[in-house]
């Protein structure tokens, strides 16, 4: 089972060898009541300690594949199921310092059955989570 908040504690980690970090990984629980084909996911904005990583700069890992924001729009078959987490891969040379960080996400979801003015709909979350090393 996943943690209840969209932001997951476990899996928050630096990417790359210890002295050559290239970025970090953040796991986000699918925050909608039904699964969504990836073309309905308009990306995830991430803010760490006030430093912004826009949705268009991040990459998204689902079902063993990594997508750019543009590639999400083209993926109408692969889905982000309920009860699963997506890995958001964020470029940041040097990675994040070990320790506790204040992390915010904004998950942008396009619901075709919402009035056009509400597409995409953002889902926010914000909490302290920890990079171990």
């Amino acid at each position: 089972m996943l943690e209840h908040t969209p932001i997951q504690s476990s899996g928050f980690s630096n990417i790359g060898p210890e002295d050559q970090r290239t970025g970090f990984c953040l796991r986000v629980r699918q925050p909608n009541y039904r699964g969504l084909r990836l073309s309905l996911v308009e990306g995830i904005r991430v803010v760490v300690d006030g430093h912004e990583f826009p949705a268009a700069s991040n990459r998204y890992r689902m079902a063993g594949r990594t997508y750019s924001l543009q590639e999400l729009d083209a993926e109408t078959q692969v889905r982000w199921p309920v009860g699963t987490a997506m890995e958001v891969l964020v470029d940041k040379p040097g990675g994040l310092a070990a320790g506790v960080h204040l992390v915010e996400v904004e998950v942008l979801l396009r619901h075709p059955y919402f009035p056009p003015q509400f597409r995409p709909t953002p889902v926010h979350d914000r909490r302290h989570i920890t990079i171990i090393r």
Binding site: M1, R34, H124
Partner: protein
């Protein structure tokens, strides 16, 4: 005694619990413990390999239905008309999606499929492909004996061109496999709390329907013949068994008077703190059963008084 309601639970009620504190069997257990006989699912939420169904999962589905004494009621599906930025589904593609969900629903033993089409305006007018898509799968629905029931959902009231168009469709095609699903949210007569990031400006404007669109329960009479299934949408019932938003004390007598004997399938849509939905759904069942009992006692009383007159 008049025809009784059938009681069910939609697993939508357990949104956010599902996959964090509850698995499929837990959900069956909680639904069954309400005294329900029916279970409603969302295809693209509760089928783990959606759109596929793995054989082992299918076996487990039927084993759980048997163990918990539940029958499949309604299967919710989506037709994602706004499928990519700048590209809409064609009617043929919409029909293909709907056919897939009809086949899935049939394999799982459901008798109803609720398709949710994308919309084109604030009135929730469905994308114009809806009619062509549904018409293309009417034969399949007949073959599988499944009724396709789009949802009448707030802010769309009963007296509305969207509903008229559905009824025109039934009359034009003569189909017995298309009808209406009434979501009791249309009867909401007191405001909901604000949602995450909702502002007073939003509530005054596009979100004003969250104050309740207050459809008069008497209007149920105008559509009841087309309505084989009802989702008992609600948001909060307190410790005094008092619902803060939906006037069950009007809805239940209206449905009883019309002789409704289909399902009331609980759709809890309130605070998503873990485990809260379990207790809320139980309160709704206690409340509706109490109102049904009271209506029957009053009707029995009236009947006896009539005999003595």
């Amino acid at each position: 005694m008049t025809a009784q309601f059938k009681y069910g639970v939609s697993l939508y009620s357990y949104t956010d619990d599902f996959g964090t504190v509850m698995d499929l069997e837990d959900a069956f257990y909680h639904a069954s413990e309400t005294g329900s006989t029916g279970i409603e699912i969302l295809g693209e939420a509760h089928l783990p390999a959606y759109p596929d169904i793995e054989p082992a999962w299918l076996d487990r589905w039927y084993a759980l239905l048997d163990k918990y004494g539940l029958e499949p009621t309604n299967y919710a599906s989506w037709i994602d008309t706004d499928i990519q930025n700048g590209r809409d589904l064609t009617a043929g593609e919409g029909a293909k999606q709907l056919a897939l969900d009809l086949e899935n629903a049939s394999r799982l033993g459901f008798r109803f499929v609720r398709p949710k089409f994308g919309v084109i305006d604030d009135e929730l007018t469905p994308h114009p492909i809806w009619e062509g898509a549904v018409e293309r799968v009417l034969d399949l629905a007949a073959k599988l004996d499944i009724t396709i029931i789009p949802e009448i959902h707030s802010p769309t009231p009963i007296r509305h061109p969207v509903v008229d168009a559905y009824i025109d469709f039934i009359q034009r095609t003569g189909t017995r496999h298309f009808g209406l699903l009434i979501d009791t949210g249309i009867f909401q007569d007191r405001p909901l709390p604000f949602w995450q990031h909702e502002t007073p400006e939003m509530r005054e404007g596009a979100m004003s329907f969250l104050n309740g669109i207050r459809v008069p329960v008497e209007q149920l009479a105008e559509v009841i013949e087309y309505t084989p299934f009802i989702q008992a949408k609600f948001h909060h019932i307190d410790e005094n068994l008092h619902d803060h938003n939906i006037p069950w004390e009007k809805v239940v007598p209206a449905l009883k008077s019309l002789g409704y004997s289909g399902y009331l399938s609980s759709e809890y849509e309130g605070k998503r703190d873990p485990w809260v939905a379990i207790e809320q759904v139980r309160r709704q069942h206690a409340l509706i059963r109490k109102l049904e009992r009271e209506w029957e006692q009053a009707a029995g009383q009236a009947g006896r008084e009539h005999d003595h007159a």
